[in-house]
Amino acid sequence: MQKLIVIIFLLFFSCGKKNNAEEKPGILTLREMSDLATVEYTVTKVIKASDNKTWFKVGDRKILMSCEAHIKAGIDMSAINKNSFTITDKNIEVLLPAPKIISVSLPAEGIKMEYEETGIFRDKFKSQDRDALARQAEQQIRNSIDSLGILNQAKVNTSMFVTNFLKRLGYQNISITYNGSLRQNNMQ
């Protein structure tokens, strides 16, 4: 009887799920793009953390860093086609694609150590630990992009940019509209 129970136990243990979740490497290559970046926001953020939640580690660690991020926004030029233009003499109406975020960059030089406090029984923050904190800051910045109003600013700047270019081509009355929005920027 005892043998039977042992066998059942072994069977249960041997049927455990194997974790085969391997990270697939991304495709590393050259890729064509057609993005026109018209606005760049430089934002800053304080990275504040305390390492005092692990019960078996004696003493605390505190760190304060600051980081700077550059966010670019603009439009995808590949979405512009013949139907995007309505031309009458020197008047032109342009329908542009809705603006989008083109890139978010947190350069290493922009991440600065401001303050660090380590208890006598604790190790200092390693580069790996600091990177993990900066990664969280990067994620918080990405999550807050919508609230920065960068897409609206991208519309304004793109309108200005395209207007200036069209003026060079000799157009006088220029009207710019964006796909998916009723907002119109008339630049004359």
């Binding site: 991304g26 064509e32 290493a108």
Partner: protein, 207 residues
């Protein structure tokens, strides 16, 4: 019959024990001596600068590079001297070593804000555009793009920045080796030509 009932009871008991062990006891034991992840506080994001730009990004190179640096410490000299007098190195190296893997992207294209009035010439339904030179517009290596492979010794933030700058330079060099600049130039010309053709110009020359 009673024997069979007893066996079934024991099997059920064994199953309950197994469930309790695997679902409650073992997970708890596993986490009890695991360090808690450090979370950063929610702090406000401040807008430092809003800049008008006009960058036509036409090519991106996604790449992975390894950057490593070894720095000699005060103890390195002693360890090296000691190991020189022994038939085989006994003491482990006291050098600081950092090996990082960076997976980022290089953006190439044209800075259209450098386009001058004299760079655009229009005559009836013909247009000539002289585009500014193609360049590397950005090299993006974010904290989430880095993986620390080896970290021996204490590394200050400034020392790590130098290693990451090395990774950045490697990525740019690799992108240039991949001929990103001529490709970005050709693509920029094509985009501008299409844009002008779509506007109705019959003869378009972009150079």
């Amino acid at each position: 019959m009673r024997k069979a009932a007893s066996i079934v009871t024991k099997i059920i008991f064994a199953f309950v024990c197994y469930w309790f062990l695997t679902r409650v006891v073992i997970p708890y034991m596993k986490t009890i001596f695991t360090s808690k992840e450090i979370s950063i506080d929610q702090t406000p994001i401040l807008i430092k600068e809003i800049k008008s730009i006009g960058q036509l990004i036409t090519y991106t190179s996604f790449n992975e590079v390894v950057a490593d640096t070894t720095i000699k410490t005060k103890g390195s000299a002693f360890v090296n001297t000691f190991n020189r007098f022994t038939p085989v190195p006994i003491l482990p190296s006291a050098d600081k070593q950092l090996v990082i893997i960076g997976r980022g992207k290089i953006l190439a294209g044209i800075n259209l804000s450098l386009l001058t009035d004299s760079g655009v010439t229009v005559k009836n339904d013909s247009v000539w555009v002289d585009l500014p030179a193609v360049q590397i517009l950005d090299a993006i290596l974010n904290p989430s793009d880095f993986e620390t492979f080896v970290e021996k010794g204490e590394w200050s933030n400034n020392e790590v920045i130098l290693v990451k700058a090395k990774a950045r330079r490697k990525m740019i060099a690799h992108a240039i080796q991949q001929n990103i600049l001529p490709k970005a130039d050709a693509k920029a010309k094509m985009i501008m030509e299409n844009f002008l053709h779509n506007m109705g110009y019959k003869h378009v020359e972009v150079f």
